[in-house]
């Protein structure tokens, strides 16, 4: 009697793999738009040609360019003028603190943002200056000198006060670049910051009301409340999130979400933070997975030996 088992195994495995390929990789490649990353180089933006002067930049940021009229720079002892809720009431969203901006956002992006926010943020479909729809961030028209030089100075100053890119933590990157619009319940994060542990329920409820008020302003500004990102690492996956952050319009044309202009390094950190929230046990899964695989192989070897021993009299 010829042993047909190898042939049967090949047939079973081949049909299984074919079905898998059709319903998973193939079907998903048809259903989802494929977007390639350009590694956060922002090729559509004007490059920074001048070398900036930090001292001059500081003067501009705090003076003529009037950045600090809306943005706080906590690190330099310049606190926010208003609380987050009032700021959202005025601008739609709370303007970010600039202490870490130089490390999280791409230099070229920052330079372009300063002179034409709607363009750098890719929200010109929402804010068309020609129609009088102004972006809440006022453009910088120059302080009288060479505007390219002035912009380079501003960027240099922001970079000079920022932590080194290696000091940017995943949490810091997320809170700065995403956290003023996107809550993250599983990390206890709201759009107005981490929710503290309150002793009295009344204080906790008062905080929740603040969050709800902020969300109301934000919803009005964005069209809908931006989603909570707790489980996005599992629901969207790394590739989608990365290319979406790089250019939201490439995936979802017309979306109100701005291009936030993070560096490639900061984008990786944002994704790491998402993984820390939604795929917390990934390292444990990998290490236990390896152990279980080794155990399974040993088990299979013993099972094979037992079968051989039992069947030696049967043939």
């Amino acid at each position: 009697m010829k042993n047909k088992e190898p042939l049967i195994l090949v047939i079973v495995v081949a049909f299984t793999l074919l079905t898998y390929w059709l319903v998973e990789p193939y079907a998903h490649s048809v259903m989802h738009k494929h977007v390639e990353s350009v590694n956060f180089t922002y090729p559509d933006l004007m490059p920074v040609s001048k070398t900036g002067n930090v001292a001059n930049g500081k003067e501009l940021v705090t003076g003529a360019a009037a950045c600090t009229g809306c943005h706080s720079i906590e690190k330099e002892g310049m606190p926010a003028m208003m609380d987050a809720v009032s700021a959202a009431a005025s601008y739609g969203v709370n303007p970010p603190d600039l202490s870490e901006a130089g490390a999280i956002y791409d230099a070229k992006f920052l330079a372009n943002l300063v002179v034409n926010p709607a363009h750098a943020l890719k929200v010109e479909h929402k804010f068309d200056a020609a129609k009088g729809e102004m972006h809440p961030m006022t453009a910088f028209y120059g302080a009288g000198g060479d505007i390219d030089q002035e912009v380079a100075d501003i960027v240099s100053y922001l970079q000079s006060i920022a932590p080194k890119p290696s000091e940017v933590t995943p949490k810091m990157a997320y809170e700065n670049a995403c956290g003023r619009c996107h809550a993250m319940k599983y990390e206890n994060w709201t759009q107005i910051g981490e929710k503290p542990a309150f002793k009295f329920e009344k204080d906790s409820l008062a905080f929740d009301i603040q969050v709800l008020e902020y969300q109301e302003h934000l919803t009005k500004y964005m069209g809908k409340l931006p989603p909570d990102l707790s489980m996005y690492i599992r629901s969207r996956g790394e590739h989608f999130i990365s290319t979406f952050i790089e250019n939201p319009q490439a995936h979802l044309e017309g979306t109100a979400m701005p291009r936030v202009g993070v560096t490639a390094d900061a984008a990786e950190k944002v994704i790491e933070h998402l993984a820390d929230a939604g795929d917390t046990k990934r390292h444990e899964r990998d290490s236990i997975g390896k152990t279980v695989m080794i155990y399974s192989v040993i088990f299979a070897i013993f099972a094979l030996l037992w079968k051989k021993q039992v069947w030696k009299d049967l043939h």
Binding site: M1, K4, E5, I8, L9, V12, F15, T16, L18, T19, Y20, L22, V23, E24, Y26, A27, V30, M31, Y186, S230, M231, R234, S235, R236, G237, G278, T280, K281, E284, R285, D286, I288, G289, V292, M293, S296, V297, F299, A300, I301, F302, A303, L304, W306, K307, Q309, V310, W311, D313, L314, H315
Partner: protein
């Protein structure tokens, strides 16, 4: 009343009361299995092991799951996946096993069809098996509702809508099933009950029936040979193990089963830890939102073929075709008119029928997931019609089959 004597040992004590030696013989050492079998005969054991994995992992998940529309998603994705030690492991085992169990069921089913194991006294094995398939389907569907993600909600919406039966407009029946106008708390509560109590009870009962149905006709073999089990068993017990055509269930058959289970578990745990995406759909990691329909709604892969029989037609015809697909497999022992209970390879046209059916169901599965546009809808329609034609042709093909 039976006469009891002072027990000489624990075993004797149990023997007088439970006849454990007799039971062991009947269930294991003198339960005879044909020797001429291949690894496909181990799928029953693979299924039993997978069911055990589902049961055990399910028990652990049940300790933390909250069947409440406000808390369900959180209890699964936060409490179980983050807070509970190894909660993620139980969920991955449960989710992957729920998907893989259908792969093994399909292999088991097609093995039965290929070797003609539904004929000549084995009809009840086939019928109880198909009832298990239906109950497992209901179990899988009800379980899929529980994380209360986007796919839970929308699959629940779409599948319960089927019960309005198209042109009959039985909207009242749909509301009765849901307990509400849309899937909500009443819906989640009853599907939770079905998933953790009623359906598992039915499954366990049916597994008992499935095993009992095997008892009298015995397990089939690779060549469809009719074996005199009594004579062969005597030969075995007389010491001619190599010459006998039968083997003991334990340890002979079990040893081979366990070897296959060993290989299967390597595959299974690889999926659990490193390749689980196919079983834990990304869309279901978004919480249920009745105001936001996902761009693509599709069932899990094991329902795709029957979904695609429903989809390419107009609603009423689609429902009739769908109903046909659900019951037709059960009727296989009577639609196959041939007296031959041998492998398909020796049955002429039936062999062609078998491979066409298998390929057609894979095509249906693929088209069921792909968006119904352009060439995909045409292929889907052709495959759905082919499925129906194949089953209508079966009695005619087999009626004129030559006796082998």
């Amino acid at each position: 009343m039976a006469h009891f004597t002072k027990a000489t040992s624990v075993k004797d004590w149990l023997n007088q009361r439970l006849a454990i030696e007799k039971v062991e013989k009947v269930m294991a050492s003198e339960y005879w299995i044909p020797k001429n079998i291949n690894f496909l005969w181990a799928m029953g054991m693979v299924l039993a092991i997978t069911f055990a994995l589902l049961l055990v992992s399910g028990i652990f998940l049940l300790m933390y799951y909250q069947p409440d529309v406000k808390d369900a998603f959180y209890s699964v994705n936060y409490t179980i996946m983050r807070d509970v030690d190894f909660g993620w492991l139980w969920r991955h085992v449960h989710g992957v096993a729920a998907s893989v169990v259908f792969l093994v069921i399909y292999i088991h089913m097609f093995t039965g069809i290929y070797y003609g194991s539904y004929k000549k006294g084995r009809e009840m094995i086939w019928i109880s098996g198909m009832l298990l398939f239906v109950t497992f389907s209901a179990e899988a569907f009800s379980g899929y509702m529980l994380p209360w993600g986007q796919m839970s909600y929308w699959a629940g919406m779409v599948i319960t809508n089927i019960f309005s039966l198209g042109g009959l407009h039985l909207d009242g029946l749909v509301e009765w099933i849901r307990g509400d106008y849309v899937p909500a708390q009443a819906f989640l509560g009853r599907f939770f009950m079905l998933h953790v109590l009623l359906l598992p009870l039915v499954i366990i009962g049916l597994i008992g029936l499935h095993f009992a149905a095997l008892r009298i006709p015995h397990v089939n073999n690779q060549d469809g040979e009719e074996i005199d089990f009594n004579a062969e068993a005597k030969k075995y017990l007389a010491g001619d193990k190599a010459g006998s055509k039968v083997i003991r269930f334990a340890n002979d058959f079990m040893a081979k089963d366990l070897m296959v289970v060993g290989v299967y578990l390597i595959f299974f745990f690889y999926l659990v830890f490193f390749q689980y995406g196919f079983a834990l759909d990304a869309v279901n990691f978004d919480p249920a939102d009745g105001l936001k329909t996902p761009a693509h709604i599709y069932p899990e892969w094991y329902f795709l073929w029957s979904y695609e029989i429903l989809r390419p037609f107009s609603i009423n015809i689609g429902l009739i075709a769908f109903g046909f697909a659900q019951v037709i497999f059960v009727l296989l022992p009577w639609l196959d008119r041939s007296p031959n209970a041998v492998p398909a390879s020796r049955r002429g046209l039936f062999s062609v029928w078998f491979w066409l059916l298998l390929i057609d169901m894979i095509v249906l599965t693929a088209m069921g997931k792909l968006p119904p546009e352009g060439a995909f809808s045409t292929i889907g329609l052709v495959a759905a019609v082919a499925f129906i034609v194949l089953w209508i042709a079966l009695p005619f093909i087999t009626k004129y089959e030559k006796k082998v």
